[in-house]
């Protein structure tokens, strides 16, 4: 039957497979659960350790699936596996903006986690609820923060900046003085300027900090074309080539960290993961780094960090949904979250852990930044659902054009408004 459509063919194969291997399903203990979490370094090590602990306790076994480090590459891997209904991965680590796009392929974990949900950040559990189904459990929460070189600020008698104006001035002053003193490669500020998801996060922070909204409001109306957003983008564009290297237009998180951690930048916008690395044994800036909330916009502005973080979800095509759910319960438990917070600076999703003395001793900035996490600004993923990536691509494309100077802020925002209108028209959100 050469005309048989592929989904039915695959479904057919799946049915055959379930008929062939009913023995493994019947035996509750001793199944093999595969999990995709982290790609390298401390993230992978922590996940492996906790997952293997679960395997020992329950008599099951786990296999860690290697995934790409870049989140967009990871997304494409998941999309290909899930769209072909592959049972290859049982537990998936997914980004905070993916529940709307992948939700139809994920199990509803609501019933199994009814006891846990009340203790978690409501913003996250809301975010992970798609059409009334809790499709993923928050594992760690992220928010954009500002790193600064404490030693350099102290040396030049400058206080940690509270507004973008102060940050721009401080970065410019220190850059000029230090370059004159011989450090010719020093830059004032690095961030994520490459046209990809990271730029959408940075742009949301600039615009929200000036009070310019978050591109699309809670009702799904497009609000991006406003004067405050234009001010925010114009200010960001003024950094390029003055306090930020032109190369920032191709930087992601790790490129920015490379410049900052080698001592070549005064300020850096990044996620909290960079803290543990900047304080690592081999870090040239160890002990000379501070972390504060991202600066406010104008006089009526606010500190705004983009809500990030990763969740654990169970694939609908898993052959061992029960065991996989149990593994997620183990990995998101308070004990494992505490271990990950102390050893990897992963921000817990359980609110009570922010008062734990051992966690605060390892991450002194957690308590001061708690408001940043609680009030972190979500990207418009909930409203735009399955079309979020299209919305985000339109945003980063425009912001990149404004930063590179090929269009000015008001004109760019006008075009962005039109693109978003077109996407909305097709998507009918």
């Amino acid at each position: 039957m050469p005309t048989m459509p592929r989904p039915r063919l695959i479904l057919g194969l799946l049915i055959v497979m379930t008929l062939v291997v009913p023995a493994t399903r019947a035996a509750a203990a001793g199944v093999r659960v595969s999990i995709a979490c982290g790609a390298l370094g401390v993230e992978l090590a922590l996940c492996r350790e906790a997952a293997e602990e679960w395997a020992q306790q329950t008599g099951n076994s786990v296999s860690i699936v290697n995934t790409p480090n870049s989140s967009s590459d990871r997304f494409s891997l998941y999309v290909q596996l899930l769209a072909s209904r592959s049972p290859e991965i049982d537990v998936l680590q997914i980004d905070v903006v993916w529940p709307g796009m992948l939700g139809s392929h994920l199990l509803d974990l609501g019933p199994a986690f009814a006891d846990r949900v009340p203790g978690m950040f409501p913003a996250l559990t809301d975010n992970n609820t798609v059409d009334g189904r809790l499709v993923a459990i928050p594992w760690y929460v992220d928010a954009g923060v500002l790193y600064y070189r404490r030693d350099l600020l102290e040396k030049h008698g400058i206080a940690p900046p509270q507004s973008w104006d102060e940050m721009t001035r401080a970065a410019g002053t220190i850059q000029t003085r230090e370059r004159a003193a011989g450090q010719s490669g020093l830059w004032g500020f690095v961030f994520q300027g490459k046209p990809y998801e990271g730029l959408t996060c940075d742009a949301l922070e600039w615009i929200a900090s000036w009070g310019g909204g978050s591109f699309v409001d809670a009702d799904g109306d497009i609000t991006v074309n406003n004067p405050l957003a234009a001010t925010a983008l114009r200010r960001a564009a003024s950094w390029i080539g003055t306090i930020a290297p032109r190369g920032v237009l191709n930087y992601d998180e790790e490129s920015a960290r490379g410049v900052f951690q080698t001592g070549n930048a005064v300020f850096m916008r990044n996620w909290p993961y960079a803290w543990a690395l900047a304080q690592g044994e081999d870090s040239p800036v160890r002990g000379r780094v501070g972390v504060i909330a991202l600066p406010k916009g104008g006089p009526d502005g606010r500190h705004a960090g983009t809500l990030g973080g990763w969740q654990l979800a169970v694939s609908r095509y898993s052959r061992h949904p029960q065991a996989a759910t149990d593994l997620v319960r183990h990995l998101t438990s308070a004990r494992i979250q505490k271990m990950r917070a102390i050893r990897g600076a992963y921000n817990p999703t359980i609110m009570a852990l922010y008062h734990d003395p051992e966690i605060l001793a390892a991450n002194p900035f957690f308590e001061a930044l708690l408001p940043s996490f609680v009030e972190a600004i979500p990207r418009p993923a909930r409203q735009t659902g399955a079309h979020y990536n299209q919305v985000s691509a339109a945003i980063w494309r425009t912001v990149h054009a404004v930063l590179s100077g090929s269009t000015d802020a008001p004109e760019g925002l006008e075009q962005l408004q039109q693109s978003l209108d077109r996407i909305r028209h097709r998507a009918r959100w």
């Binding site: 989904p7 769209a83 190369g247």
Partner: protein, 300 residues
């Protein structure tokens, strides 16, 4: 053996190839064509409506829509054509020049011929990543050498600025693919009849004239093959752009655009449309190739 028998056994010998080709080429192609007339998404591939040719071009509510009116697609098309023509032109000229050089009786040409192949042998993803590091604005060795040599005053953002990003991508492609052209041309040069050159030497013909009047016409068939192969490759270029600059508008090629629609946006219908148009463009180039080779085949 009768003619009929011979035909039969020919088909039997051809059958494995035909079956494999229809499985790995014709079937996916047919499905891509099919999906390009639907609004299917990866969320549920079985749930779609037919939209006819609406993904290509349509008209509704007083407005044209579809691929042919999509500024992003037009941008990717322009980038792809620009990249293909500029990089292949440079590769051809450089490839012929290098082939002539290593064809000359110079000391160490054996080593030279082997070293030439290194860029071609490295997988593109690896060399793209390697060049991205070498072109890094802060730590890259390219900026370091330019700064030390006093050629530039401040480090250049090779992959950050629009024009430079495209130029860098072309440069890396030239680095990688010139050996391919050079090798093919070198093979052709070695089969050239010596008597032409001996006669030219006796007549005292200038080297430049000798090249344009004798060498170039003789290697033209091979050069045509090399250029068309390179054009086909360059038109569907994906890895360099994706690894070096990601989804940057300045370097977005049709393949990167198709991937973004299909995978990032999960839009199988529209993504298939992008792939299908790219396929027909490549068919067009292949047709040119066949047409260009026909007269050559008749008169070897």
């Amino acid at each position: 053996m009768t003619a009929r028998n011979r035909r039969q056994s020919a088909w039997i010998f051809l059958a494995p190839m035909l079956i494999v080709l229809s499985l790995v080429a014709a079937w996916p192609l047919a499905r891509t064509l099919f999906y390009s007339t639907t609004n299917a998404t990866l969320i549920d591939m079985a749930d779609y409506d037919f939209v006819g040719l609406g993904n290509y071009l349509g008209y509704s509510n007083g407005r044209w829509y579809g691929l042919l009116t999509d500024p992003q697609w037009l941008l990717a098309l322009r980038n792809t054509l620009f990249f293909a023509f500029v990089s292949v032109a440079i590769e051809t000229v450089l490839g012929v020049a290098i082939a002539l050089l290593v064809n000359a009786r110079l000391p160490g040409r054996g080593l030279m011929r082997a070293a030439m192949l290194v860029p071609w042998a490295i997988p593109t993803v690896v060399s793209a990543k390697m060049w991205a590091w070498m072109l890094n604005d802060q730590f890259g060795i390219v900026n370091d050498m330019l700064l030390r040599g006093g050629i530039v005053e401040a480090p250049l953002a090779w992959l950050g600025s629009a024009g430079l990003a495209m130029a860098s991508m072309i440069a890396v492609d030239v680095w990688k693919a010139t050996p391919f052209v050079a090798m093919l041309v070198l093979a052709a040069l070695q089969t050239l009849p010596r008597d032409c050159y001996e006669a030219a030497q006796v007549d005292g013909i200038a080297p430049a004239k000798l090249f344009f009047r004798v060498t170039l016409p003789l290697i033209r068939p091979v050069l045509t093959v090399a250029v068309i192969f390179r054009l086909l490759d360059a038109m569907r270029m994906f890895d360099l752009a994706y690894v070096m600059t990601g989804t940057n508008d300045a370097t977005m090629t049709l393949s990167v655009h198709a991937r973004q629609q299909l995978v990032d946006f999960q839009d199988v219908g529209y993504g298939s449309t992008v792939s299908t148009t790219l396929f027909f463009m490549i068919v067009l180039v292949t047709a040119l190739y066949v047409a260009a080779l026909k007269p050559l085949g008749r008169n070897p």
